[in-house]
């Protein structure tokens, strides 16, 4: 019976450790939960990916160092979740302007649909949601390689929805003035996003 107890305890400890590791100490049971926890505990530096904005101008996230940045991932023909994301950014845009932080903040809607979203589609999306092109811009990575690097760094998984569109773990990602991803919030948590931006000014 002693040997059985030893065997059972060994198995329990090995698998217990695996379970502990796989759930970040029983704190994150979903990939999205783990992403948010990891970013909060350890701000993440981001790759220097070249983006093209809605006016055809090149930019990188490194150009924004010195500003607080909020990033959302979208695709221009998105009927559901991106509309909510757009509304969320519209609210933030108003709030940031009212607080006089427009010069020190940037909102970027980044498209992951490189096949369909050119500058024109990005402009249409911007107009439809009220992006002013200064405080709030829309952009797309220059190429697939850049897109992959960006999605990986942010921890965003995009999958086809089976009806010609996409599904992704949509969220509001806050990047601090040093260019590090520091917090991730849900749509509807604009007050928390605003507080995070404000703290970083």
């Amino acid at each position: 019976m002693l040997r059985t107890a030893i065997a059972a305890l060994t198995i329990a400890s090995v698998f217990g450790a695996a379970l502990w590791h796989g759930t970040s100490g029983l704190r994150a049971f979903t990939t999205e939960g783990a992403r948010r926890l990891s970013v909060m505990e350890q701000p993440r530096s981001l790759p220097d990916v070249r983006l093209i904005d809605m006016d055809g101008q090149e930019l990188t996230l490194a150009d924004e160092i010195g500003r607080a940045v909020v990033v959302e991932f979208i695709y221009a023909t998105c009927p559901t979740i991106c509309v909510a994301l757009g509304e969320s950014f519209a609210k933030l845009q108003d709030q940031i302007r009212a607080a006089g932080l427009a010069d020190r903040t940037r909102l970027i809607s980044i498209s992951f649909d490189l096949v369909h979203d050119g500058s024109e589609e990005l402009r249409t999306y911007a107009h439809a949601h009220g992006a002013d092109g200064r405080l709030w811009i829309t952009a797309r990575p220059e190429n697939n390689e850049g897109l992959r690097a960006l999605l990986k760094a942010f921890g965003v998984t995009v999958i086809p929805d089976g009806a010609g569109g996409f599904v992704h773990n949509a969220a509001l990602q806050v990047v601090d003035r040093q260019g590090r991803l520091i917090a991730i919030f849900d749509i509807g948590e604009e007050p928390q996003v605003f507080a995070a931006i404000r703290r970083r000014q």
């Binding site: 019976m1 040997r3 059985t4 107890a5 065997a7 059972a8 198995i11 329990a12 698998f15 217990g16 695996a18 379970l19 796989g22 759930t23 994150a28 049971f29 979903t30 990939t31 999205e32 939960g33 783990a34 998984t157 999958i159 929805d161 089976g162 599904v167 992704h168 773990n169």
Partner: protein, 214 residues
């Protein structure tokens, strides 16, 4: 071991090994992992089944070792329970898609758990086995509720509709198992409630505990 039984054992081992090989093939892996139901309710149980087939072939050979290291199936059931706990976590399912290490661990841990189950079932006391069955049914029920009712996607790699389907599948499985085991209890031959079939451990239990208390 007679020639017939040896042949049966060999073909069963071949079936287990063949099943694992078939599941590893990129074609079936891709197909099954494309949907949450295929991944969790088809691929994972089949990996367990493959392990079961291999484990039951080894049962007789490992009898002495199991008698010492797996009395009443306690070590085996610990492995089974922890493996299920691990693969029940939505993040583990996502990680199996994203990281090779997790995928390899899945293809090792689930067949091991299946084999452990085969090596432990006969040793388990009826009450212990019953408690495990009741737990499995209720756990599947809770998971079914979680997956169907969750307002957010629990796996980044799968659609919300997939998640609901998995919940429905788990509810169905839970109901089928409850009915199957329940009917066995009511109308079965009585073996479900009989003492464990491994006589050696049974005798020892009776000698040690029964003798003193009576």
């Amino acid at each position: 071991m007679s020639a017939d039984r040896a042949t049966a054992a060999a073909s069963q081992a071949a079936a287990g090994a063949g099943l694992i090989t078939a599941l590893i093939l990129p074609f079936s892996r891709g197909r099954l992992e494309a949907s949450l139901v295929g991944h969790v309710l088809v691929q994972m149980p089949l990996l367990g089944l493959a392990g079961w087939l291999l484990g039951s072939v080894l049962e007789e050979k490992l009898d002495n070792i199991m008698e010492r290291w797996n009395r009443f199936g306690l070590a085996g059931f610990t492995l089974v329970i922890f493996t299920m706990l691990f693969w029940m976590v939505p993040r583990s399912v996502d990680s199996a898609i994203e990281y090779t290490g997790y995928e390899v661990f899945k293809f090792l841990s689930l067949p091991c758990a299946g084999a452990a189950l085969a090596l432990s079932c006969q040793r388990a006391h009826a009450i212990f086995a019953g408690a495990l069955k009741a737990n499995l049914v209720s756990m599947l029920g809770v998971l079914a509720w979680l997956y169907t009712a969750a307002p957010v996607r629990l796996c980044n790699s799968y659609l919300a509709s997939d998640q609901k389907m998995l919940g429905a599948g788990m509810a169905l499985l839970s109901a089928v198992l409850a009915i199957y085991w329940g009917l066995g209890l009511l109308f079965g031959s009585g073996t479900a409630m009989a003492p464990p079939q491994k006589t050696r451990s049974t005798l020892q239990t009776r000698g040690r505990f029964g003798g003193r208390s009576l």
